[in-house]
């Protein structure tokens, strides 16, 4: 683990521990003063962290292909605009059921997945729209799936939580918390068995770490030396329950130590840090056939799903994270490194908006699946 990463882990700890404010009424004044001080410290810390991030990000940017950097930013912006559109059309009743948005977490999918080869495999949880698009499924097919239309990537049979593409080696969004950790382990098992050279990227949230399947999978992956990278997207909330109310330990990356597995803590607001950590893990998987656990600390701006008003946290808490927004940070760094200009940003923005509008048009126009689809695909 690099020095910068250790620093991040420490400072993130301070930020998170500071937000715990349950006290008796007679301690109210003292509590307010303490909290005010803590808030100030947090703001200063966040600012310092932002500066540190930017400096390290610029270093990493200098080592990376410019065309790729542009594409990374584009995918992040597209992911953001796409999910905002989902929220909009969901409220209009165009999308039914559950709809879990990725806003705020874009740096993770883009940072990790754009370090892969196209033949590598990816599997994730139900928060899967952006991963699906980064892996190559068109925004049209993802949005049409959300609309429950035949033009969707699984013909309207899966919806928000179940995007799949055999062609693009995207093994799905999965709805049982943690279930995909075991399936991803099996995909890596097959890659090793067939000597295909493929690496498997397996995403899950921090709440999934409390499931037995996480531990069963990590044990087997290290025991059998499987080429898999477990990416824990720690957005601090399992639905409405914060990590500190659900997990006896703070440090998820270190859980891999129990299985003697390589692990790293990564700042999930920094797309280049995610990319660099993913590249190290991918190399380990591809060349040594060894697994890695990455804990990528992030924050989701929206509720758990569209039906979650998010009463368990304050607007201030969300605003604080938005100050360290992964897209703003990346743009600042790209500009400082003289890779992209405001003009480029405008072009990227326009392209993303246009792509999303095209997806909306496609989803609107695509027909609902015919009833003859009801009983197909049950058995081969």
């Amino acid at each position: 683990m690099s020095k910068a990463a250790t620093l991040t882990e420490g400072s993130a700890n301070k930020i998170q521990n500071g937000s715990n404010g349950k006290t008796a009424e007679n301690e109210h004044v003292v509590d307010l003063l303490t909290r005010e001080k803590a808030e100030k410290e947090k703001v200063e810390l966040a600012k310092a962290e932002y500066e540190a991030r930017r400096a390290s990000q610029i270093e990493s940017i200098k080592r990376t292909d410019k065309k790729l950097l542009r594409e990374m930013l584009y995918q992040m912006v597209l992911g953001r605009r796409f999910e905002e559109k989902c929220a909009e059309v969901y409220r209009m009743g165009k999308i039914g059921g559950f709809c879990h948005l990725y806003i705020g977490q874009e740096a993770i999918a883009i940072g990790a997945m754009m370090a892969l080869e196209p033949s590598d495999m990816v599997i994730t949880s139900y928060r899967d729209h952006v991963q699906a698009m980064v892996k190559g499924i068109s925004p049209e097919a993802v949005l049409a799936e959300l609309y429950g239309k035949i033009g969707g990537c699984v013909k309207g049979k899966g919806g928000s939580m179940h995007m799949f593409s055999k062609e693009h080696e995207f093994y799905g969004g999965h709805g049982i918390v943690g279930g995909q950790i075991g399936v991803g382990t099996g995909m890596a098992y097959a890659a090793k068995y067939r000597e295909s050279g493929q690496v498997t990227l397996c995403f899950f949230g921090e709440a999934a770490v409390n499931q037995g399947i996480f531990h069963e999978s990590l044990n087997m992956a290290q025991l059998w030396r499987l080429p898999v990278i477990y990416i824990c997207e720690n957005n601090n909330y399992g639905m409405g329950t914060s990590q500190e109310r659900a997990m006896s330990t703070r440090n998820i990356a270190k859980k891999a130590d129990a299985y003697e597995m390589a692990n790293e803590f990564v700042d999930g607001m920094d797309v280049m840090a995610v990319r660099d950590a993913a590249l190290r893990a991918i190399e380990r998987a591809r060349n040594e056939s060894l697994p890695t656990l990455l804990e990528v600390r992030s924050y989701r701006y929206m509720g758990h799903s569209m039906s979650d008003p998010g009463n368990y946290r304050t607007r201030e808490e969300i605003a604080k994270y938005q100050e360290r927004d992964p897209i703003v940070l990346f743009k600042d760094s790209l500009k400082a490194a003289k890779v992209l200009s405001d003009k480029d940003f405008d072009a990227i923005e326009a392209e993303a908006v246009e792509t999303v509008e095209r997806a909306v048009k496609f989803a609107e126009e695509s027909p609902f699946p015919p009833e003859s689809e009801l009983l197909t695909d049950v058995l081969v």
């Binding site: 799949f164 799905g172 097959a190 399947i213």
Partner: protein
């Protein structure tokens, strides 16, 4: 024809499929170096090595999941549960993942996997090792459920199950592993899934039995023939899902009477489904209400006499036949 135990017939099926397709591999607890808890995989690890026959930790949910992922990514795993009772730990992967993957991926990801092992009671192994679980797994679209009762069926059906592109629940019976039967020696002998077999022809009463209750039903039929000169037809569906209801209905149309003998508990059982389907299609052909013999509605007791009382028996089947034949 070769005279084989069910255990050895299963072993032959596994050996032949391992040889035929290099994407087939076996995984489970004690399947490799220990030669299998019930010796179904005997000799396979020595012959095919640790890549093809894999010992797992005791981690049912985990290795079931590895099987599902490996099947999605192009392999054909045969996953052994030491008993189906332990599959309950893995049921999330079997039900929520294997069974639903093809549908929720819009047909893109078939899961060609076989989950196999002994189902139901053994010899005084008590409550947590004696459950017959076919009704539960039959309730999930996307799964096939197979239950052989003879050595030939065991071999032919297991080979077909391994070649099938769907997840297959393959349920054996520990009490039956040592039972011998004739197995065709022809090259690549298989039996298609979804086809019932008439184990004994008769004219007066149909007994539908599966797995452990097939030999019981055959003995009961013999006894009834001797004592009452009543001729029973014993139909073994062999595959519970998809169910060959046509063969069962055809038999009922001939005999006009139906007894169902099953090892599982009665409530919401496979027998209940068969009774419904028969009533739905040939109600007017029935000369008596359908009668069902199942395990009593209690967890399996340990004591020998209580265990025997809980399970279906030749006597219970005889009584049921007498009842529907008004004897």
């Amino acid at each position: 024809m070769a005279l084989l135990t069910i255990r050895d017939a299963l072993n032959e099926a596994l050996r032949e499929e391992l040889k035929r397709d290099e994407n087939v591999f076996i995984m489970g607890e004690e399947v490799a170096e220990y030669d299998g808890a019930y010796k179904v995989t005997r000799g396979l690890w020595k012959e095919f090595g640790g890549k093809r026959v894999v010992d797992t930790p005791i981690t049912e949910l985990g290795f079931a999941a590895v099987g599902v992922g490996a099947a999605m990514a192009g392999l054909r795993p045969v996953v052994e549960f030491m008993t189906w009772n332990f599959s309950i730990l893995a049921s999330d992967q079997i039900i929520n993942h294997a069974a639903k993957m093809l549908y929720m991926s819009g047909g893109q990801f078939p899961v060609p996997i076989v989950f196999r092992g002994p189902n139901g009671s053994a010899f005084q192994v008590s409550s947590q090792h004696s459950h017959a679980l076919e009704a539960m797994y039959s309730n999930f679209p996307g799964l096939k459920v197979v239950m052989p009762s003879t050595a030939a069926d065991a071999k032919g059906l297991l080979k077909s199950a391994i070649r099938d592109n769907n997840p297959v629940i393959f349920m054996e019976q520990e009490r039956m592993y040592g039972m011998k039967g004739e197995v065709p020696e022809e090259e690549d002998f298989t039996i298609p899934l979804g086809v019932a077999d008439v184990k004994r022809e008769g004219t007066d009463c149909t007994i539908v039995a599966r797995s452990m209750t097939v030999p019981l039903a055959l003995q009961a039929a013999e006894k009834i023939k001797e004592e009452f000169d009543v001729s029973c037809e014993v139909v073994d569906p062999r595959t519970i899902k998809p169910l060959d209801i046509d063969t069962i209905v055809g038999s009922v149309k001939k005999t006009n009477r139906l007894v169902i003998a099953e090892e599982s508990h009665s409530f919401a059982s496979v027998g209940a489904e068969i009774a419904y389907q028969v009533m739905d299609t040939v109600f007017d052909h029935l000369d008596a209400p359908v009668k069902r013999i199942s395990t009593v509605e209690a967890p399996m007791p340990y004591a020998k006499n209580l265990e025997a009382a809980a399970l279906p028996s030749v006597e219970k089947i005889v009584e049921a036949v007498k009842e529907v034949c008004y004897l």
